[in-house]
């Protein structure tokens, strides 16, 4: 998961020369199972994806766990709850929101200022909640988050949501986006004009495909 720093709060540092890839193969999102006894990190988030659901097929196991390196388990849960408040998708399992916590934790692990921003932000959410923010209802969480819209903490979490929540295979599956098309031969014979609820345009506006 990468964040391309294009916002005002970030300085551009990406360098295209480091991004050569041998092929167009898109890597699957890894949802590693980690065992508690091997954990060296600061926290762990875990849960399960309903077996039989469309998304279960994408994960190596319906049970998932993510290790945090800097943030605590409770902080991770609050950030997941904040992500679900900002971008509430019933279609997305907690495993996707856990990716948000993991990516934010990655930022916190490499930069002390980011760690402080996130930890202080989580503390302020819990303070406003009078306890554990993640235990509140959606409406209660929304009421707490709204006044924070202009804070750097809000900006950081919201910005991270854009890539963490929407650039992964589970989100693709949930929203009906198949991603890479090259290895499947594109859509020339796979439904690019299969819409049936409107009449087809005449041939002069839309000639038939060349299949020869």
């Amino acid at each position: 998961m990468r964040v391309i720093p294009i916002g005002a709060e970030n300085s551009i540092q990406a360098d295209a020369s480091g991004c050569d890839e041998e092929s167009g193969v898109v890597q699957k999102v890894h949802m590693p199972l980690v065992r508690r006894e091997f954990l060296k990190g600061s926290g762990i988030l875990f849960g399960s994806i309903a077996s039989g659901s469309m998304l279960a097929a994408l994960a190596p196991s319906t049970a998932w766990a993510l290790e945090l390196k800097t943030l605590t388990t409770d902080e991770g849960k609050v950030l997941m709850a904040m992500g679900r408040t900002l971008y509430p998708h019933k279609k997305l399992p907690d495993a996707v929101y856990a990716l948000l916590a993991k990516d934010l934790d990655g930022g916190a692990n490499s930069d002390a200022a980011t760690a402080k921003l996130l930890k202080d932000g989580v503390a302020s959410l819990n303070k406003a909640a009078g306890g554990d923010f993640s235990k509140l209802t959606y409406d209660q969480r929304l009421a707490i988050i709204h006044p924070m819209e202009d804070t750097p903490f809000f900006g950081k979490v919201r910005g991270q949501c854009v890539t963490s929540l929407y650039d992964n295979d589970m989100a693709f599956a949930a929203f009906g986006y198949p991603g890479s098309a090259w290895e499947k031969g594109g859509y020339i014979t796979r439904g690019f004009q299969d819409l049936k609820w409107l009449p087809n345009p005449p041939a002069e506006a839309s000639p038939p495909p060349f299949l020869g």
């Binding site: 900002l86 090259w182 345009p201 506006a205």
Partner: protein, 522 residues
């Protein structure tokens, strides 16, 4: 591929390998002229392109630091990314959608036709559509533009079906799958479009014209061409007579080189080209090269843009097939009864889930945004592209407060929408919504402009040296062996996607340069 000595001062140095630089290089090489092409980016191929929006963006986009100012929304949403253009061999022809439309006759004389519009720096081009038509024809043939040269149009996808149905219900006349530099059938050694849906990410089937796998290999085959990828130019030098004579650049290892030159052609797109001229200031040219008019960097245009997305109750799957799959051309005319001068095109557009999240409405969050993402498979989309007004104050300048990795000031891009741009955008948003409503949309959404893909005007052509930077051949008024070969030459933007006109001007410029060299004029 040839190899030229750094001290070979008989070569033409072309800076940039995109629509302008790549085409010009090949055209010159075909005439037996030796060319060294310096390209800042690395060389990719159809095999290395990636069907993944963010990964491809990292691979192809120009991500060197830039800053922004002005009231345009891009400065708020994408402060460090004013433009979505490329740093790779082939330049932005790797990323472009393929729309290849000729300018309309009146768009070459906007000052005359639109009049003296307050706050606009309108000027007529020093050339006419008549003069360009033979070269437009050559460009269309070179690029294999559909609906020209007997090439059939592309088959329309689901996204186009919706545009067509709605536009026809509204009474629009010219609605079809466009004039596209994408092979609808095999041509020029390249296959036909596979309807991949990743036009913006570099065409993995090679059906879409890009200098990367057309002009550049053809130039290489002549033995007159040397391409130096990952060569970042920082300065153009001149001699005591005020003629340019060398180009200084850094290779990928950070080593500085100086390539001598008989002629220098700048084709780095409309942000880097004026930046390079400004950075090349000297004792003789204190305000930068070719800048006696003070117009270098000014009159920056980016096309009036915006998008309309619409949700339907049934599936659409707009991501299937050509990204720009169809067009409505009726609004491209000049008709002031609509409340603005100039016109606009409506072209289908599609984004994948990752970019939809980033671009549908940057900064937006909440249940309504989530609703749009959840209806992704039921969305149709179109892009608005219209003529924006050149303004002296919309400009590229050197930001000395921010330095790039070579220690040079980064370009700042300042832009304020002209009232004409805003009136046109309002009209286009409204027409786009009506098209989708006529096709049965349950909701429509007005998406603000993306980072600029059409960057134009910052080294503009003019009849008089006091009004612009280059003459009708793209030759600097001040320095006769310095040329501008990209969209920064444009005197006005037109309503049309600019690549075809950039290629057309490059073919024409190559003829002129060859003639001038033969006559020993330069």
């Amino acid at each position: 591929m040839a190899k030229f000595d750094y001290n070979d001062d008989s070569v033409v140095v072309v800076i940039g390998s995109g629509a302008g630089g790549g085409t010009l290089s090949n055209e010159l090489c075909q005439k037996g002229i030796k060319v060294v092409c310096l390209e800042a980016g690395a060389r990719q191929s159809s095999a290395s392109f990636i069907n993944d929006e963010w990964k491809s963006f990292s691979q192809l986009a120009w991500l060197d630091p830039r800053t922004t100012s002005g009231s345009w929304r891009v400065a708020k949403d994408f402060a460090g990314l004013p433009a979505w253009i490329c740093k790779t061999v082939g330049g932005t022809t790797t990323h472009w959608a393929g729309a290849s439309l000729r300018f309309q006759e009146h768009e070459f004389r906007t000052r005359q036709v639109y009049g003296d519009l307050a706050g606009a720096n309108l000027l007529d081009w020093p050339l006419t559509l008549d003069e360009l038509e033979p070269y437009y024809a050559k460009a269309e043939d070179k690029m294999g533009v559909t609906r020209t040269n007997g090439i059939p149009g592309l088959p329309g996808n689901n996204n186009f079906k919706i545009m067509y149905a709605g536009a026809k219900k509204l009474g629009y006349g010219e609605v079809h799958t466009g004039r596209m530099a994408i092979n609808s059938q095999p041509r020029d050694g390249r296959g036909r479009c596979m309807q991949l849906g990743f036009c913006f990410q570099g065409c993995k089937s090679g059906a879409k014209w890009s200098t990367l796998y057309t002009e550049i290999p053809k130039a290489e085959a002549t033995g007159n061409f040397e391409l130096r990828p990952e060569s970042h130019v920082t300065r153009i030098e001149h001699n005591a007579d005020g003629k340019v004579n060398a180009v200084v650049y850094f290779d990928k290892n950070g080593n500085e080189h100086r390539q001598k030159a008989r002629i220098v052609c700048v084709a780095g797109n409309s942000i880097e080209s004026p930046r390079l001229l400004l950075m090349s200031a000297s004792n003789m040219f204190k305000d930068g090269l070719a800048n006696s008019s003070g117009q270098v960097g000014r009159n920056y245009m980016r096309h009036m843009t915006g998008s309309v997305y619409a949700a339907f109750k049934d599936p659409v799957h707009m991501y299937r097939g050509t990204t720009m799959a169809g067009i409505v051309r009726d609004e491209a005319r000049h008709d002031t009864r609509r409340g603005f001068v100039g016109g606009y095109e409506l072209e289908t557009l599609s984004l994948g889930v990752p970019f939809m999240a980033a671009f549908l409405d940057p900064g937006k969050w909440g249940a309504d945004f989530a609703w749009w993402m959840e209806h992704y498979s039921q969305l149709a989309g179109m892009w608005i592209v219209g003529e924006d007004m050149p303004r002296e104050t919309n400009r590229v300048t050197l930001n000395t407060n921010v330095k790039d990795k070579w220690g040079n000031p980064v370009p700042n891009v300042h832009f304020d929408d002209h009232p004409n741009d805003m009136a046109m955008r309002e009209h286009a948003f409204s027409q786009g919504e009506k098209i989708y409503q006529a096709a049965g949309a349950i909701r429509t959404y007005r998406t603000p402009p993306y980072p600029s893909t059409h960057n134009l005007g910052t080294n503009r052509m003019s009849a008089k040296a006091s009004d612009g930077v280059v003459n009708k051949w793209g030759q600097a008024h001040d320095i006769n062996n310095l040329f501008v070969s990209d969209g920064s030459q444009f005197t006005s933007g037109g309503a049309e996607n600019p690549t075809l006109t950039i290629v057309t001007l490059a073919i024409r410029q190559a003829d002129y340069i060859a003639k001038q060299m033969k006559e020993r004029a330069i």
